[in-house]
């Protein structure tokens, strides 16, 4: 990405490097490009707590998340202000999603009792990630789930839940003791224990990376296709580049649903595994 690809371009002197442009676009920013108007979002002085620097500035991704949350709360709140016994339209769709989360994701992994307890959390997680993924496909918003900090914080919730509910179900000692299968030779126990503890972290890490990478990749590919027009310096490329970009965009639509599903599914699976260890 260090090569200035636009050096091949006829009037390339002023245009920025394409690779940098793509990276820049995928990153969080302090201004919001609203149809060409650059809205400057408020920045705050970083707060230092326990030696960690917390920059609580309102970035574009924060705004995107707020819009997603606002959208979900207003739409769903309005929908259920007057609950109907037999839902129609959007209510039927939302209900089928929630029932899918309850019957296909929560209950099989967490059991009947905890499955019902976790359904609101998992439904919110699914719809929140899905809305953020889909908003990433709308040009005026940014892809918040393409920010590793966002996905990491969601994965950290999963990590916390794995430990909290694992300990709650099995007891503090029981939870960590049950990580090692009982039939293992004595000498292997420390090694396996280490691996299993590491597994707690890698599960969460993979969760964060998977969502982040999937969201970034599609956007990068779209920009790369469209960037070909600039790199090769001819409009004729758009005959191939634009259809491919549109195709990738549709693929992204699919990926948005799949990744939201996978994140929710794995969260419930990991928490379920922590709660009911194999013996």
């Amino acid at each position: 990405m260090s090569t200035n690809v636009l050096s091949f371009s006829p009037e390339g002197a002023e245009t920025p490097n394409l690779g940098e442009f793509i990276i820049h676009h995928l990153q969080d920013s302090h201004e919001w490009n609203l149809f060409g108007y650059h809205v400057h979002l408020p920045t705050f002085e970083p707060v230092y707590l326990f030696g960690i620097k917390f920059d609580l500035s309102i970035t574009l991704h924060v705004v995107t998340m707020w819009f997603a949350g606002l959208f979900l709360v207003t739409v769903l709140g309005r929908l259920y202000r007057k609950p109907q016994l037999v839902p129609r339209g959007l209510a039927a769709l939302v209900e089928s999603i929630v029932l899918f989360v309850r019957d296909e994701i929560a209950v099989p992994n967490l059991g009947a009792r905890y499955g019902k307890v976790f359904t609101p959390f998992l439904s919110t997680l699914f719809l929140f990630i899905l809305t953020l993924n889909l908003m990433g496909l709308i040009p005026i918003f940014a892809t918040a789930t393409g920010n590793i900090s966002v996905t990491a914080s969601l994965a950290l919730i999963t990590f916390a839940m794995m430990n909290v509910y694992g300990i709650k179900e099995n007891g503090f000692i029981g939870f960590y003791k049950n990580m090692v299968p009982h039939s293992v030779p004595f000498l292997m126990i420390p090694l396996l224990f280490f691996i299993e503890i590491l597994g707690l972290f890698t599960k969460s890490f993979a969760l964060a990376m998977r969502l982040f990478a999937n969201m970034i990749a599609g956007h990068a590919v779209i920009f790369a296709f469209l960037g070909l027009i600039i790199v090769l310096g001819t409009v004729l490329v758009s005959v191939f580049a634009v259809p491919f970009a549109v195709f990738i965009h549709f693929l992204e639509l699919l990926v948005a649903f799949i990744q939201a599903y996978i994140f929710t599914m794995l969260t419930s699976l990991f928490v379920g595994m922590a709660m009911h260890p194999e013996h």
Partner: protein, 162 residues
């Protein structure tokens, strides 16, 4: 790009937490309550339908039993009445036969009695006639008493021959 921003993490937690709390209060609770209500209602309806079916089946069975019972009763009654009719017929016939026989007997007896009576009077008549005739034939020389005895004997013989 892979650098974790603590501020961003905090914002995500806050946003997600607020969304979770609000959605839980304003969407999931009403939705899940409604779903549960509907599930209960469906289960209740199914249970009621089962009950109604069981009842209907029991009723049908009972009706069929009753119908069969009624059929049996009808058959028994028919059989009984048929037997009774047969018996009555036999009785009537027997009685008629007996009556006829009795009447025949009586008629025969009457006839016999009449015949005896007629025979008796005929004998008497014949005897008188014979007495008169022979009296005329033989004339006065005939001892009335003696001849009458003779003729009577004779008539007796005739009567026996008859």
């Amino acid at each position: 790009m892979l650098k974790l921003e603590p501020g961003m993490i905090i914002w995500t937690w806050i946003t997600f937490g607020v969304v979770l709390v609000l959605l839980k209060r304003f969407a999931w609770q009403p939705l899940l309550a409604m779903v549960e209500e509907r599930e209960n209602k469906i289960a209740e309806s199914l249970r009621r339908a089962d009950e109604a079916r069981d009842q209907a089946e029991a009723l049908l069975e009972e009706q069929q039993k009753r119908l069969a019972q009624a059929q049996d009763e009808i058959e028994a009654m028919l059989k009984e009445s048929r037997a009774m009719a047969e018996r009555t017929r036999e009785e009537i016939l027997a009685k008629a036969r007996e009556d006829a026989n009795r009447m025949l007997e009586r008629a025969k007896a009457d006839i016999e009695r009449e015949r005896q009576a007629a025979l008796l009077s005929l004998k008497k008549e014949v005897a008188d006639l014979v007495v008169t005739a022979t009296g005329r034939l033989i004339g006065m020389n005939l001892d009335d008493e003696k001849h009458r005895r003779l003729i009577d004997e004779y008539i007796q013989e005739i009567g026996k021959a008859n």
